[in-house]
């Protein structure tokens, strides 16, 4: 039928676009990295460098993990609508390999980012001393090798399985991915939780919150859905995917962003309200830093920018079905998600107020460039849609009502 012809039309490959994306990414990364290194060696010092590095690493990691979550959840539910958008998500999740390499500087910078529990004084502090069996350099590195290893295996396994199906058309692959997606989600939940404790919560080793893993996950999911949406619209602007990804799919992506914006707000509110209400000093300290000095407007900005504005902006179906509006929304969400990560990490090092530094931006550019280049390279290697997925026809014909 005509729908099927559309899927295998010439918009299935990036062609020379892939090279352009990679070139753009590499240039951005080079400029960002050069600027960062200049700043590092011209007086800023390693402390600021590694702290900015951690924020941006946590940001891009959350995006890849969110994309992995998207892929897993489509498999586990056997979703049909999303087949045409799945490849983009798979490509973004496969950037975990890149992030594993980017993790190495994190180890070098631990003394600046996790000095609270790495300093010898930590053993004197009873609130920290009891957890040094968990929070110590060696065990931290071992854990990260495990997390990154698991994520790498998961993302590459699902990516490769999907790409292999493009050639063989073997429907058993679909089934195998579906079967493995459920235990993968279990692994995903456990690793992301502990990774978020390690990466962000342990910056202040005195503070703890059981919901923290879910908070990091929810933000990453929103960011990843926004990134997938933005990538789809970008590819369409470049003349790709024009026939296979329709308004209906973008509408659904918009719904997912909207739903996870609400979910994020729910998790954020639960964490804030319970700590505010309980009013136990060891917990409120964390929020107190964020309600002090110039961090206060940032907190308000997150409340409105990360929740109220996208909530009102995406509640109607009209913007979700308008490509331009949705692209603006996705870009905005990607930005506020970065602010959110910044707001989680930075006040613990700079409790007196916002200490924005050019490094925050240059390191962002460096990592974004690498992220884009890696994704662009992979996009060029396979079809832009899983073209032999047995449910592809359903996905192409999909309509909201």
């Amino acid at each position: 039928m005509h729908k099927e012809i559309r899927a295998v039309g010439d918009n299935r490959s990036t062609g020379e676009l892939s090279g352009k994306i990679v070139r753009f990414g590499v240039i951005l990364a080079a400029v960002g990295a050069a600027a960062s290194l200049i700043l590092l060696f011209t007086g800023t010092g390693a402390e600021r460098f590694f702290r900015s590095y951690l924020v941006n690493f946590a940001y891009f990691l959350s995006l890849s993990l969110g994309a992995l979550f998207f892929v897993l959840i489509q498999h586990v539910t056997g979703a049909k609508w999303s087949i045409v958008v799945r490849r983009v998500a798979e490509v973004l999740s496969a950037n975990i390999g890149l992030l594993a390499i980017l993790f190495i500087p994190m180890i070098l910078g631990m003394g600046y980012t996790y000095h609270e529990w790495l300093t010898p004084d930590a053993a004197e502090d009873p609130a920290i001393a009891s957890k040094l069996g968990f929070l110590n350099r060696n065990f931290f590195i071992v854990r990260w090798v495990v997390y990154l290893g698991i994520w790498y295996l998961l993302t590459s396994w699902f990516y490769r399985g999907s790409v292999r199906q493009d050639e063989t058309g073997d429907i058993l692959l679909t089934l195998r991915m579906k079967r493995l997606s459920a235990p993968s989600l279990v692994l995903f939940a456990l690793t992301v939780t502990f990774a978020s404790f390690d990466l962000l919560m342990s910056i202040n080793p005195r503070w703890y919150s059981t919901i923290f893993g879910v908070y990091y996950f929810s933000g990453g999911a929103v960011g990843a859905f926004a990134l997938i949406t933005a990538a789809l619209i970008f590819l369409q602007r470049c003349g790709r995917l024009g026939m296979s990804v329709t308004t209906e799919h973008l509408h659904d992506m918009g719904k997912l962003i909207f739903a996870f914006i609400v979910f994020w707000a729910y998790i954020g509110f639960s964490q804030y309200m319970l700590i505010w209400y309980g009013n136990i000093p060891e917990e409120t300290e964390w929020f107190l830093h964020r309600q002090t000095g110039s961090w206060t407007p940032v907190s308000w900005f997150i409340l409105f920018g990360h929740f109220a504005l996208p909530f009102l902006g995406l509640i109607s179906r009209i913007p979700k079905r308008a490509k331009g509006a949705l692209a603006v929304g996705a870009a905005w969400v990607l930005f506020v998600h970065w602010v959110d990560i910044y707001w989680i990490a930075m006040p613990e090092w700079y409790p007196n107020g916002v200490a924005f530094h050019l490094l925050d931006a240059t390191l962002f550019a460096a990592m974004a460039g690498l992220f884009i280049a890696a994704a662009g390279r992979r996009l060029g290697k396979a079809s832009l849609v899983p073209e032999k997925d047995p449910r592809l026809a359903d996905s192409l014909a999909f309509e909201n009502f």
């Binding site: 509110f269 804030y272 309200m273 505010w276 209400y277 009013n279 509640i315 109607s316 009502f401």
Partner: protein
């Protein structure tokens, strides 16, 4: 009811046996230019809205408005009761404790919005409507079970006793009958 003892005509009722034929027929009735007509189906048939040319209802906006009103009521009520009209201190919290007011404000938002969705739907559909000419038709009883109907009202400006009948007969329904008002 007209004076000559014969009841006024409500219109014609055409019966169809499956989804495809009613969608096709609805498209033709729409294109013919009728306005006072409707389809009756046991379940919402997708594609029929387009075939009939029904525009999107404004219900979502009503619900959004009601939800906003609910939220403001929720916040306003809590402010007025606990921070203004009879302010008293509890567990060291401020008189007006926004975080503590969110749950109730949220519930009020949902309550107002949900009630408006329900009442709004009924109101715009003019329900309850216990008396309707179509209920006179014995055949029409299957409209809620397994048959699909198109009813064209005699009040329609295009309605003509014979031409309309001929047109409806050409739609390929399984039965056609006249319904009295």
């Amino acid at each position: 009811m007209s004076g000559d003892g014969k009841r006024k005509r409500y219109g014609y009722l055409v019966e169809f046996a499956d989804v495809s034929s009613i969608i096709e027929a609805a498209r033709r009735v729409r294109d013919e230019g009728y306005v006072k007509w409707d389809c009756h189906t046991p379940f919402p048939v997708h594609g029929l809205d387009g075939a009939m040319g029904i525009r999107m209802t404004i219900l979502p906006w009503i619900v959004f408005g009601a939800g906003t009103a609910g939220f403001l009521t929720g916040i306003g009520m809590q402010w007025w009761m606990n921070a203004f009209d009879y302010a008293y201190r509890i567990s060291g919290k401020p008189f007006w404790s926004i975080p503590a007011n969110i749950p109730v404000a949220f519930e009020m938002t949902v309550l107002f919005a949900a009630i408006s969705a329900f009442i709004g739907m009924l109101g715009m559909n003019r329900l309850p409507e216990y008396h309707h000419p179509l209920f006179r038709s014995e055949r029409f009883r299957r409209a809620t079970a397994d048959r699909f109907f198109i009813a064209v009202e005699a009040d329609d400006p295009l309605f003509d006793e014979e031409k309309t009948l001929a047109f409806l007969e050409s739609l390929g329904g399984t039965a056609i009958e006249e319904v009295e008002d």
